[in-house]
């Protein structure tokens, strides 16, 4: 197969590319330039936007012995991922840009262009496994290394995308991948993992949003109130908050019971942030929209859901009615924010995903 290996400059994608080449595929390495001006999104820090990362990817391709190019995806990335990220925060929701990037960029813009240019598949360093099911469909499964499993951020891929994907690392624990990188002479073997959002410097979401949203911010301040509506403090913009957040609320007066308070609700129009005790965050049911299914669309499934990257697997019953997905959690979950993705699993198999539109909590 002719394979495009998306190389971020990190250890995982380098080893994935090396494995694809070793498996006999005709591999071409590409680094995705996601910003025209790499310094405009983030500088100095590690991520997928820096010149150092591009150079690291190029050197890895040299060592593997494959051709290497930089593809400029900056316009698509800005339109489909960065703008979406800003819109979602402005609307009081909490997006996951990595899912959006996989859905719209890595396995869409890149894959489409690759297929048109004569490639058969895109290989990435994601930790997830592909298997062929008894029905002949390609199934997406969790990685062997549970701690590194990234099937959550791939839960947006449909059958067509999965059929043109390769995840060569899914069967290997991370420490072995690092050891293999060192063995292969890849200089990125001991490069630290990236965890943050690649385009936000130092993980400072609120600071980044304050700078970038500007006039688009729905508000530049408002009240922090308790559930009875009593004002406890002020804030500089609702986009800096996410449901379930505990830190950085800057409330002077402690709660009467001395328990910590959490963000329960964000109202972008009025600019009101409501806080309360943890038990008020308990979610029993949630409603998802814009579902993406990996294969056959389920109608009713007793399985599990994962509600954030590296989150726990929560037993749940999922009911699908067209574009509406109802998730009934068998035990309450806490800190669930609209905008996040609910990824549905049947055992280790990813069934699909939906964007959380609303959560149902016990009435006050």
């Amino acid at each position: 197969m002719k394979v495009l290996a998306a190389m971020s400059g990190g250890v995982d994608s380098a080893v994935a590319a090396a494995r694809a080449a070793e498996a006999g595929h005709d591999v071409t390495g590409i680094h995705l330039a996601l910003s025209r001006n790499p310094a405009s999104y983030r500088s100095g820090a590690r991520g997928c936007c820096t010149i150092e990362d591009s150079n690291d990817a190029r050197r890895a391709a040299d060592v593997i012995g494959i051709p290497f190019y930089v593809w400029d995806l900056s316009e698509r990335f800005h339109a489909d991922v960065v703008e979406d990220f800003m819109d979602e925060y402005a609307a009081g929701r909490t997006p996951n840009p990595c899912l959006r990037c996989n859905e719209k960029i890595k396995f869409a813009a890149v894959l489409e262009r690759g297929l048109a240019l004569g490639f058969d598949a895109v290989a990435t360093g994601h930790y997830a496994q592909l298997r062929t099911g008894s029905d002949g469909l390609i199934e997406l499964h969790r990685a062997v290394d549970g701690g590194k499993d990234q099937s959550y951020v791939l839960g947006v891929l449909d059958q067509q995308q999965l059929a043109h994907s390769l995840f060569p690392l899914g069967d290997t624990p991370k420490p072995e991948v690092r050891a293999e990188a060192a063995r292969r002479g890849l200089l990125v073997a001991d490069k630290p993992d990236s965890h943050d959002i690649c385009f936000v410097a130092d993980g400072d979401n609120a600071g980044w949003l304050r700078e970038k949203l500007g006039e688009r911010a729905p508000n530049h301040g408002g009240a922090i109130v308790d559930e009875a509506g009593v004002e406890l403090g002020r804030h500089d913009g609702t986009y800096a908050y996410t449901i379930g957040q505990r830190k950085g609320l800057r409330i002077g007066t402690p709660a009467p019971d001395g328990e910590p308070r959490f963000v329960l609700d964000i109202e972008p129009v009025s600019g009101t942030v409501t806080v309360g005790p943890r038990d008020r965050l308990a979610v029993h049911r949630l409603r998802g929209i814009k579902p993406r299914w990996c294969g056959t669309v389920p109608t009713r499934l007793a399985g599990s859901v994962q509600l954030r990257a590296h989150g726990e697997e929560l037993p749940a019953t999922v009911t699908v009615d067209g574009d509406q997905v109802e998730v009934e959690l068998h035990a309450p979950a806490y800190g669930i924010a609209p905008g996040q993705a609910a990824v549905v699993y049947d055992g280790t198999r990813v069934v699909g995903s939906a964007t959380i539109a609303a959560t149902e909590r016990e009435p006050a």
Binding site: A33, R36, P38, Y69, E112, A116, L117
Partner: protein, 401 residues
Amino acid sequence: MRVGWAASRTLVPDMSDPVYLDHAATTPMVPAAVEALTKHLLEVGNPSSLHASGRHARRVVEESRETIAQALNCRPGEVVFTSGGTEADNLAIKGLHWSRVAELGPAPRLISSSVEHHAVLDPLDWLAEGEEAEVRLLAVDATGRVDLDELARLLAERPVSMVSVMWANNEVGTLQPIEEVVALAAEHGVPVHTDAVQAVGAVPVDFAHSGVDALTLTGHKVGGPYGVGALVVRRELELTPLVHGGGQERDIRSGTLDTPAIAGFAAAVELAVKHQADHAARVSALRDELVRGVLAVVPDAVLNGDPVRRLPGNAHFSFPGCEGDSLLMLLDARGIECSTGSACSAGVPQASHVLLAMGRSEADARSSLRFSLGHSSTAADVAALVEAIGPCVERARAAKA
């Protein structure tokens, strides 16, 4: 099959013999340059040392300087060796501008063109940002030729430190009207620099006759080594140095001279200039064949630049509906090597400032490829491109749809 004057094809490293159509980026070293370079690699001697070995090295440097001077029709003392074209351009721009500031007062006007190489544009931006110069970039017409009326107007308005206009454009190959530029600048006593990196060996370049005051050339574009070049600068002109140290080159440029590289550079310049007419005739015939062949296969491709007044080895096209970088990759996979234009350090193709200045859209600019022929190019190279370009364009168009 008729090959180039240097017949140096055998020196191209065997990478399953790519079809190399990127001579404007760098051209293979000619055997005479390799010989001159390697001859001195094992010899000891700093050209600034006073003993016999030093004197020998100095002699090699000075003979090289004389060779280059003869080839370009300048005085040997006017050749200032540098680390290449970028340094020579920087030295010309900053060095000349700063020395003129002493005469003219702070922040005089500096005139250049909007289609210069970044080795000129970036120092200009830097001077402008530091409020050291009022930089004005001449507009160009649709072929990439500078607007002489605008030059006349800009020269007349206020004191001007210098004019810098390239001899030939590195992307689209358009030759600039250097004689007219020099004549206009002379009316106001304004010195002229020209980046002739692409021109030397490709078209006749006569320093004294041209009337320019400073001229940039570099080794690796004429069949010489990388990392060596020169600024030819009139003896009477004062330049403020950029690199301070031993003052080896007329106190304008410091740093121990690279004797072997300079010897190789001189050998290459001598041969390139000597064979310029033959080379231009042979390469332009190949280029015309390339243009005809490409247009026959891709009729809606657009040849950019001046159809006549252009570098003999340059063919620059826009392929409507294609991304230049997709095309480059597809051709590269078939062993055909060309260029999309200037690339930033991260390797992201930027829309060419040259095409934008020529009034083309960003989409046009991003759909462009440059094929540049040189002394080792053959009819087989052209045939290989003509055979490959059709399917590659078709595929690149599908990828953009």
